[in-house]
Point group: C2
């Protein structure tokens, strides 16, 4: 296998096309803004009685085109779109990461309004956590591997805040990005096991022109770090191609790890091939496999993934 | 302290009065019966749109006057009352207990209809658990003590099925019996932490004339066992009186344990004094204490409790 990590790999444009961003429509810039649960619920009840289908796009703000593609998907489905903006402390295992997480409410508001989002719900921590939470979630194998291994408690915090948002908003549909693939699995489990009955949408990752997955944390990359960060996606693409060419996973992984070792400024945490249904690393059917990567670039931890088929 | 466990203790009639059963009204015997989630939800949506407030009374069937008092509380609050009947396998740590749990759907239906219950939801296991659940709940200290210590996994199963029922029915109010005091705590945590926003009612334990707490499992007691079973409540009453008389908890507990040792056919599992808010056994304010007991009588495990004030 050639080291494809230093060149634009084949299939690259094709991948971009499937996730291309469609410009936000310039429709009526009118959006309701709530910070409290009670008034939000009263307003949403009116919409429900008026027969509207409610779509929820949960975010932690610092919005990028990935988020906007979720708003658009909700709009295209004809949902009355509610976006939530809450930097959820219980899902941050690293207090420094929480503190440094990018925040820009004013810009976020403008972006959402421009995209036709009908409601923004931006509660503060006291509104979401009126008292110390006492419940923790456990997902067996699902939250012990990949992100769960490196971020203990992370998925319990995700499950908690998403359960809160599901109960507060009672959406018909909810929209998530595929970049956080394991998170989407966890949310699907919650939705099924607790009978929320919400239609969940997992939308393709939106990428920069050089392939870097959009992420709010990209804002914290230095100019050099921004260049190094492309290593993740380039290796996902090259590993996928190698696997499709019949090269064994152990060989592919060894080569990817060597690529990362020789890449300046990028420290690999994991690079795994997993079954996209079970997240098990015993992949019997390659076409159902997904490659997942996490790496540290300067002060930022980045993740990405790529389905084989 | 006298051994009060062999006589009808003072204050006994008073206790009974506060929980006396008011006969079920003989109103229109018309009740909707559902076994499937979809049709139930469609019907309940109609009721909601018609402005009705929905009250949920979750049961495992084999209904007794304790259950009926919950239906009545819901009716008195003006709720459109939905009772669920589901023997939830995930909360049984003992498969034998699950297998032998009393079941009598026909009688239950008649009782509910007579009490004016508007909807009975009695799904089968496949409807409630369409696939193997993958989420487990952890409540820190709350599910490691008392019942949690003797029934590992029990409260995770309770939290799971109650979350399902809350999401399926979306009630405004839900009614539970105080006999399962720790269960009510766990459900309160779920309701708060996950923002279900349901008004929870904890109703007084209903008792037989000799003080035995009503329980579906009482049906499985032999004639002798039925007599022995009164030991639980008699010791709760005598222990409460002793504590109010200023006797120390260590002395009271020692005497209760001696009472149980000398009572034929009753095997004590625990007898604890706990803070009714935190369930901590460090009780600083006796007026906020609650006595909790579990004991085995023949083939049946019984629980009961009594607040001090």
């Amino acid at each position: 296998m050639r080291d494809k990590s230093t060149e634009i790999p084949p299939g690259y444009q094709e991948s971009l096309e499937t996730v291309d961003y469609i410009g936000a429509p310039l429709n009526t810039p009118e959006m309701k803004f709530f910070t409290r649960i009670g008034p939000l619920q009263a307003f949403l009840n009116e919409q429900r009685i008026a027969g509207k289908s409610i779509g929820l796009v949960p975010t932690m703000g610092a919005l990028h085109r990935g988020h906007m593609s979720l708003i658009e998907a909700s709009q295209e489905n004809g949902d009355f779109t509610v976006s939530s903006l809450f930097v959820n402390p219980t899902q941050f295992n690293d207090p420094g990461d929480l503190e440094r997480y990018p925040r820009d409410l004013d810009t976020d508001k403008l972006l959402l309004e421009k995209a036709g989002c009908q409601v923004l719900f931006a509660p503060d921590t006291r509104e979401m956590y009126a008292r110390q939470s006492q419940v923790r979630f456990d997902f067996g194998q699902f939250d012990k591997i990949l992100e769960g291994k490196y971020r203990p408690g992370h998925f319990s915090g995700v499950a908690l805040v998403v359960s809160k948002l599901f109960n507060i908003v009672r959406p018909d549909s909810a929209y998530f990005g595929r970049k956080d693939f394991q998170q989407f699995k966890i949310i699907s489990i919650i939705n099924d096991d607790l009978n929320f009955g919400i239609k969940l949408h997992c939308r393709p990752t939106v990428r920069e022109v050089d392939g870097l997955a959009m992420s709010s944390r990209n804002l914290r990359l230095s100019a050099d770090g921004r260049n190094h960060a492309t290593t993740l996606y380039r290796n996902l693409l090259s590993a996928r191609q190698s696997l499709l060419d019949g090269i064994s996973w152990s060989q592919v992984r060894a080569e990817v790890e060597e690529n990362f070792r020789s890449s300046a400024g990028v420290q690999l945490e994991y690079f795994e091939l997993a079954d996209s249904a079970t997240l098990s690393t015993e992949v019997k059917d390659l076409t159902k496999g997904i490659l997942l990567v996490a790496a540290i670039v300067g002060p930022v931890r980045l993740i990405d993934n790529l389905p084989i088929a």
